[in-house]
């Protein structure tokens, strides 16, 4: 490919530099993930002396420990559950409202659309949000994870733009056959919007998987803890340890002995908490690039 196009010397130098630079750039982005992975499956004693490219003696003890700690598999399941339920609700209902907004015959269409879009810019702030959620009785409730955010103005803009580009004859013919609103939406519009629906599903699910502030502020129930908050709790403990270590430099050696195993455990939890994202997202990449293109055209 490169040889086909014979550029000047400076252009070929640029190409060369460009490939090296891009390779390094990719490395910087991916290496921390890789490092945490090889550390988590290495012998902790050897790993702490420095590992760079390969695991030092495979050792899955930390995973066995982590998974036998009931809280972590449980938190993982809670995260998974809330992500799946939220994504389904968010994608379905945001699409339905977006579809309604394409209906020119609907009275007050523009007013309602502006009303929904303005929700994107109005932010009540932390405390009023907290008080409202508490008043709704969502404290210590699973619903807190899945109810707020189902209708998302940004997703609605994306989906509405997409639906507007579809030929209207599809819908008209179904209407002739006597199909009602829900039938048209469920059977025709929703399935045909797959590229944008997939994009929105990626945004929504990744967002939901990563959110933890709701859990952190409003949920104390151990049974409802998400993996992010559990990970943070473990890390924080370590951070406390690290600051203690810095103030007591003299005790550093004895401290290090203690820290060995927790270090590996932390890395294992990190791996577990990013695993779903790493496994799922490369497959959806093609879709969200399309989605961004729609967004970029709009912007």
């Amino acid at each position: 490919m490169i040889n086909k196009y014979q550029g000047s010397l400076s252009e070929r130098l640029f190409d060369w530099f460009n490939y090296v630079f891009m390779a390094l750039f990719s490395l910087v982005c991916i290496y921390p993930f890789y490092y945490v992975l090889i550390y988590s499956i290495s012998n902790p004693r050897l790993a702490s002396k420095g590992i760079y490219f390969f695991p030092a003696e495979f050792d899955f003890d930390s995973y066995i420990k982590v998974l036998s700690l009931n809280t972590i598999p449980h938190a993982f399941l809670v995260s998974l559950e809330k992500t799946v339920i939220f994504t389904v609700l968010c994608v379905y209902f945001s699409s339905m409202l977006a579809f309604l907004f394409t209906k020119r015959v609907m009275p007050f269409r523009k007013t309602m659309y502006r009303f929904v879009i303005s929700s994107m810019y109005l932010n009540s702030g932390l405390i009023p949000w907290y008080i409202t959620m508490k008043t709704y009785g969502l404290r210590d409730s699973f619903l807190l994870y899945v109810l707020p955010g189902i209708i998302n103005a940004f997703y609605i803009i994306l989906i509405k733009t997409y639906i507007e580009q579809m030929p209207s004859s599809l819908e008209e013919s179904a209407q002739m056959d006597g199909a009602g609103f829900l039938t048209i939406f469920n059977r025709i519009i929703f399935p045909l919007s797959r590229p944008i629906v997939a994009t929105v599903a990626v945004y929504a699910s990744v967002g939901c998987w990563n959110t933890w502030i709701d859990n952190y502020l409003l949920v104390d129930n151990e049974k409802l803890q998400t993996i992010q908050v559990i990970l943070f709790a473990y890390l924080n403990e370590a951070q406390g340890m690290a600051t203690d270590l810095m103030t007591m430099v003299t005790n550093a050696n004895s401290g290090r002995q203690l820290q060995l195993s927790p270090e590996t455990i932390k890395m294992s939890i990190t791996v577990i908490s990013v695993l779903p994202i790493i496994l799922v997202y490369p497959f959806l990449q093609k879709n969200f690039i399309k989605g961004i293109m729609l967004g970029a055209v709009k912007g």
Binding site: E11, F115, I151, L235, K266, I269
Partner: protein, 300 residues
């Protein structure tokens, strides 16, 4: 509007109603909480029992100006720094566009956007693994028999702003790069062909076609960033907070959390949040006005 379509129209309207109620409940009802800025909020009391204090909570902003000044300085420093690096993803996208091997290109895209999809907690976990005193970086220095500072970069007060900037660039650059790649794909191919016929080389194409073609996207992203001057987010500063870097990492969003949560001054935190939101909206409208004046295009 004919009679028949009007009837279906009202049916759609009825279907839309529950959605409007939902939006009101979850986006607009919380705004009524702003009223607590005029009261002395106490979670144990009902609304009628609360003591009305007028603008007392607003006066607090004036009285604690030195605190607010410090926090604002951090907020603006981080925002301005991230505005200064807005050309980075643009440059990276132009370079990525020059990669002609499709597989390599897709690999770079996949790998560089990955950090965008992880939470700040995970970013913190990775940073800790790499930059803590026992982490990769200092272990490597030790193994190379180089000097290792007693206090690592995560606790280095003087480096905080730049370290946090680096982290947010690392997390976000791949994603923004894809937005530019999408915009490059939108540039008319004929322009490139015409320029090539006119004898433009690789750099000529970049300078005369790609960069001007990306300017509108760049401008929009820049304006959005300016309108978010006071919003640097909360997660990042919350997870990287430690006592050593406290006075450099406290941005507005973090400070509001601190006042509300750790000090339990709900009313004052509400005031700060409200003022921040209103300033943010004002900024957004100002930027939008500028955009309409200069480009004839509206952002909103």
């Amino acid at each position: 509007m004919t009679y028949k379509s009007n009837k279906t129209g009202w049916r759609y309207f009825l279907i839309a109603m529950p959605f409007m109620i939902y939006v009101t409940a979850f986006y607009f009802v919380p705004l009524f909480g702003w009223i607590y800025s005029f009261y002395n909020y106490n979670p144990a009391l009902s609304f009628s029992q609360l003591q009305f204090v007028g603008f007392d909570n607003f006066m607090k902003m004036y009285n604690e100006w030195s605190e607010i000044y410090r926090v604002l300085k951090n907020t603006l420093a981080m925002s301005v720094l991230s505005i200064l690096v807005t050309p980075l993803p643009l440059v990276a996208a132009i370079m990525l566009n020059e990669v002609k091997h499709d597989k390599f290109k897709r690999f770079i895209q996949t790998v560089t956007t990955l950090p965008n999809f992880i939470s700040w907690i995970v970013v913190f976990a990775l940073t800790f693994a790499v930059f803590s005193n026992e982490g990769l970086y200092y272990t490597l220095l030790r193994n190379l028999h180089l000097d290792v500072p007693v206090i690592g970069i995560m606790g280095n007060n003087g480096a905080t702003w730049f370290f946090q900037l680096g982290l947010s660039v690392w997390k976000g650059i791949g994603w923004t790069m894809i937005i530019y790649i999408a915009a490059i794909a939108g540039i008319d191919n004929e322009q490139y062909e015409a320029a090539r016929i006119d004898g433009a080389g690789k750099f000529g194409l970049m300078r005369h076609i790609t960069i001007p073609g990306l300017a509108p996207t760049f401008f929009v992203l820049l304006l959005l960033q300016i309108s978010n001057l006071l919003n640097n987010g909360f997660d990042q500063y919350f997870v990287f907070y430690n006592s050593l870097v406290a006075d450099k990492i406290e941005v507005l969003d973090f400070y509001i959390y601190k006042v509300g949560w750790l000090v339990s001054d709900y009313s004052y935190a509400t005031v700060l949040g409200m003022v921040k939101s209103l300033l943010g909206i004002a900024l957004l409208f100002a930027v939008n006005y500028l955009s309409r004046k200069t480009k004839g295009e509206s952002l909103l």
